[in-house]
Subunit: 211 residues, 2 copies
Amino acid sequence: MKVKELPENTLQRLIIYLRVLEYLEREKIDPISSEDLARRCGVNSAQLRKDLSFVGNLGTKGVGYSVKSLKYSLKKFLGRNHEWNLILGGINPLANFLLENSQLFKEGFNFMAVFDTRDEYIGKVYSGLSVYNLSQISYVVRNIRVDIGVITADETPELYLETFLREGIKAILNLSNVPLFSENEKIKIENFSFPFILTKLSYFLKLYEEK
Amino acid sequence: MKVKELPENTLQRLIIYLRVLEYLEREKIDPISSEDLARRCGVNSAQLRKDLSFVGNLGTKGVGYSVKSLKYSLKKFLGRNHEWNLILGGINPLANFLLENSQLFKEGFNFMAVFDTRDEYIGKVYSGLSVYNLSQISYVVRNIRVDIGVITADETPELYLETFLREGIKAILNLSNVPLFSENEKIKIENFSFPFILTKLSYFLKLYEEK
DNA sequence: TAACTACTGTGAAAGTTATCACTAAATGAA
DNA sequence: TTCATTTAGTGATAACTTTCACAGTAGTTA
């Protein structure tokens, strides 16, 4: 399998295009030219057309792109045309926010089970899901397909990672404060934290101060 | 060395290095070689050294890097050696999570004021901050320095953006579902949403399925 | 002191990505 | 029908990023 055929930056932009197309659909704007869509996505039109050429021949010369059908093509290409099953590791306010978030459910990301390592949380119910002991994960996920493991735990996130990978989970969203990596290219880990993204802004502001 | 503009990917990696260094400091690992640090950050050592060369000559040949002093240099370079003032637009569970999040405060990101456009929220108190009407923003921020505007609102995020920019705010974290952009290169907007990052994983999983 | 080892910093090469500039196709007007 | 206009798709090229490979330096040993 060639996981790397699509550049990472192209993937990120395709996701932006999809989200802007969803907005355009709500606004009943259709069709749209590469020039107009690119401007709304903060890129130039040649790049947008090149990016979309990875997905296929999706436009009509002289006209532009049908918002509805381009959105559909992108959803399919990105694997967003069906639902995905998630499990979550580590109860805390962020975990609670994610479990209660109806937007994720609407978009096809469904939490199936919740794990923790701390006795005082085991057995409690969050958003209709009982918290299981992480050490019991094999028994819990035996009969459900798990696509994505979400790590919210601040303490020992690497323990959750190891456990999830041992269970054969291939895709990890790590929301703890320590970035995690795997040498295995059959495993995909996305790291995110709010301080991380705010630091990108703080760097920009610091540059500004210096001028 | 010639002063070149810092590539976006280099910036992102520098932030990763910083967070891993913070972990190493807690683990009392010091000093560390580029080889070892790179492995823990999921990059190769030449890239790590090249990235750090944007910041300065920070290592000692034959020895490696002092964890403590490299951490300090990176914090300073990234503008994380002092505090930043934030305002927030749009009350919802995500806003509430951010306002209650002590980690952000510990890392030097302080929420100073909260805004909304819906009458039923104006005057309510969240995490010790009164919600003000967005249209009154000028009066509220007249006497405080605002560094970063955080948009959590799902409805009319572009109204919050316009208003924040009109107040002279240069750095925006947009957490709504619609990505926002500005032509003005003196403005920096970071877009993030959980469905966005989960879509990166869904694309990876879809490739797997097709194998 | 000199020889040896371990590691950084960096110029050059290799590899990758973005942009340009053109071709081709669809539309609409005369 | 023909012509002008608009816009997608793409090969070539420019720009940028990563990796290689080694010179140079700090520390260590004798």
